[in-house]
């Protein structure tokens, strides 16, 4: 991958003009609000904003002193690792096999891509509907299998439920990217490896997987961000953070506190979350991409 273009157009103002629309949008609707959030995190206000008090780092201190919030980090870590990990592994598995088969490939692909169209807000409801202990078809089957499914009181079941729903929602997206990545691996490499005596399994590990690493890396970033930020609707619909607070991931707590009009706490959490993500992404870029590039 070329990193820079040799030829460049020369203009002092044109690049700025080209960046302007995106710049305005991110400035006005992303950075300004983010700065506001930062500001709010240092304040204590009532819901209506009629009394504003500067409290310095009190909101952060309160978070730090809240064992539930700290526990939520662990929950989030477990959840994100599972979602990103499973999401990537499963979709890779499907993509590798879909790439292999000749017959019916298009049908498989179509059916696997379809769920991508489901809204997260609806996805949570769907899964709840399937796994609801009273009317859910899946929990009914599980009971029939002798597993007393109870995502309401069993933390593990609850975690499994939201992980499944979140992975399910993301699997098509990952699948598509992997499919594309696999298609871009020159066929002659696979042939060369076959002649070198590598069997399909070995070939996958030593050739295809390493060559997919740019795709995997991209998906890793996207999936971690997804698990951290875009799963609110799923958790809200499926477990509401329960049982107890055992599935209360950071973003769930954040949006919940926002809904409960605890603005200072919610803003402080936004700031913490952004920091975590930025650090995570930088780390991913620094360390993972180094290994990824070839």
């Amino acid at each position: 991958m070329a990193v820079e273009k040799r030829v460049v157009f020369r203009s002092r103002w044109l690049p700025w003009l080209l960046l302007a629309p995106q710049g305005v949008v991110i400035g006005v609707f992303f950075f300004w609000p983010a700065a506001q959030a930062l500001l709010q995190s240092l304040q204590q206000t009532d819901a209506f904003g009629s009394s504003v008090e500067w409290v310095g780092l009190d909101n952060f201190r309160a978070l730090w002193n809240d064992p539930k919030y700290l526990a939520s980090f662990e929950t989030t870590a477990v959840f994100s690792v599972l979602v990103a990990g499973l999401g990537i592994v499963l979709s890779l598995l499907l993509a590798v096999f879909a790439d292999r088969v000749v017959r019916g490939a298009t049908l498989y692909k179509t059916l696997l891509i379809w769920p991508y169209a489901v809204a997260p807000a609806v996805a949570g409801v769907l899964w709840l509907f399937m796994f609801s202990p009273s009317i859910g078809i899946a929990s009914y089957w599980l009971h029939a299998l002798g597993i007393s499914w109870n995502s309401l009181l069993n933390s593990t079941h609850a975690m499994v439920l939201i992980v499944m729903a979140a992975v399910w929602k993301q699997i098509s997206y990952n699948f598509l990217f992997f499919l594309a990545g696999l298609a871009s691996i020159p066929k002659s490499l696979i042939e060369a490896a076959a002649i070198d005596g590598a069997h399909p399994w070995r070939r996958f590990w030593t050739i295809q997987l390493p060559l997919l690493s740019p795709t995997t890396f991209f998906l890793l970033v996207i999936n971690v961000v997804y698990a951290f930020l875009e799963t609110f609707a799923i958790v809200d619909a499926a477990t509401q953070g329960g049982p107890g607070t055992d599935t209360s991931i950071l973003v769930y707590k954040l949006v919940y506190d926002f809904k409960a009009l605890d603005l200072g706490a919610s803003a402080a959490q936004s700031v913490v979350l952004m920091l975590i993500l930025i650090v995570l992404t930088v780390v991913q870029f620094k360390y993972v991409e180094k290994k990824v590039n070839y």
């Binding site: 991958m1 070329a2 273009k5 030829v7 157009f9 203009s11 044109l14 690049p15 700025w16 960046l19 995106q22 710049g23 949008v25 991110i26 609707f29 992303f30 950075f31 609000p33 983010a34 506001q36 709010q40 096999f97 292999r100 088969v101 000749v102 692909k109 179509t110 059916l111 696997l112 891509i113 379809w114 169209a117 489901v118 809204a119 807000a121 609806v122 996805a123 409801v125 509907f129 399937m130 009273s134 009317i135 078809i137 089957w141 399910w168 598509l176 990217f177 594309a180 298609a183 871009s184 076959a194 069997h199 399909p200 961000v225 930020l229 609707a233 954040l254 949006v255 803003a267 952004m274």
Partner: protein, 283 residues
């Protein structure tokens, strides 16, 4: 195929079929539920085969005529709102990302990489995290209840900018040089050469962003105060949010199916381009 292994072929089909079952099952359940009466759906276990109320349920969902249907806005209008906002978001994102990626790849200017990172960081700032203050901004710009308010704040796109940048880096430099020799200025090159060449990447992003736009929930809920401006996802939530009574799951599911059709169509129609677009981008 570089080897002859029937077992592996069978394994591939087995895994794919399993995958399809797991992945498509919720959608199937949705469909089945949308063909029964409410009472049938809430029995445990619910029926596994489609029932006989398909037409009646879908008619009710589409026209908003179900006897105890929650939302009075028929799905038709909501679908329209969803469509317009999804399209505006999609086209907007693609347009501004194309421009930014063009600037970043084809020009040299101070703070170039800083600009790129500034755009990239927005990945970490989804609506959920900045919702309150963003609402303030939109309100003070008078964009409440407008398509602009529904769409513009969501229009920045780190993913699209990133992918376009990757793609532009693979476009041979000689094309730009040839265009310069032909007398094309930067914008002319952009319009005549770069954009047409990006067609497959654009298609890929179109799918991703369309679905993103179509599936918005929290944001539209906040910036619209008029049910005429509600997208269909809110409509679905409207039908299931009742605090008091159990839901008309059959109609909810019928609406969910209806709401799934346009994005599913976009996915299916663009599938070929989509994958190809991503391939081009990857390299």
């Amino acid at each position: 195929m570089v080897e002859r292994r029937p077992t592996l072929g069978i394994l591939a089909h087995v895994i794919l079929i399993l995958g399809v079952i797991v992945v498509a099952f919720p959608v199937y359940i949705t469909f089945v539920a949308s063909t029964h009466t409410t009472a049938e759906v809430v029995q445990a276990p619910m029926p596994m085969l489609p029932g006989s109320h398909l037409i009646e349920n879908y008619k009710a969902a589409l026209l908003g005529t179900g006897n105890s249907q929650g939302s009075n806005a028929a799905v038709g209008r909501m679908m329209f709102v969803s469509l317009v906002s999804a399209l505006v978001i999609t086209i907007g994102k693609i347009a501004i990302s194309l421009l930014s990626a063009f600037a970043i790849v084809y020009f040299r200017f101070p703070f170039r990489m800083l600009c790129f990172w500034a755009i990239f960081v927005t990945l970490m700032l989804p609506v959920e995290v900045r919702i309150g203050p963003t609402y303030q901004v939109v309100a003070s710009l008078g964009l409440i209840n407008t398509f602009a308010g529904l769409t513009v704040p969501l229009i920045a796109s780190a993913t699209a900018t990133f992918l376009f940048r990757q793609f532009f880096l693979t476009v041979p430099e000689e094309l730009a040089e040839a265009a310069r020799m032909d007398g094309a200025g930067p914008m002319r090159f952009f319009k005549d050469i770069l954009v047409p060449l990006s067609a497959t990447s654009i298609a890929a992003l179109f799918v991703i962003q369309f679905i993103y736009g179509w599936n918005q929930y929290l944001w539209p809920l906040l910036v619209t105060t008029n049910e005429n401006m509600y997208p269909v996802v809110i409509g679905i939530k409207h039908m299931i949010s009742g605090g008091e009574s159990a839901n008309n799951w059959n109609l909810v599911m019928a609406t969910a199916m209806l709401a799934m059709i346009p994005p599913a169509l976009v996915v299916l129609l663009m599938q070929k381009w989509f994958v190809k677009g991503l391939v081009d981008t990857e390299k």
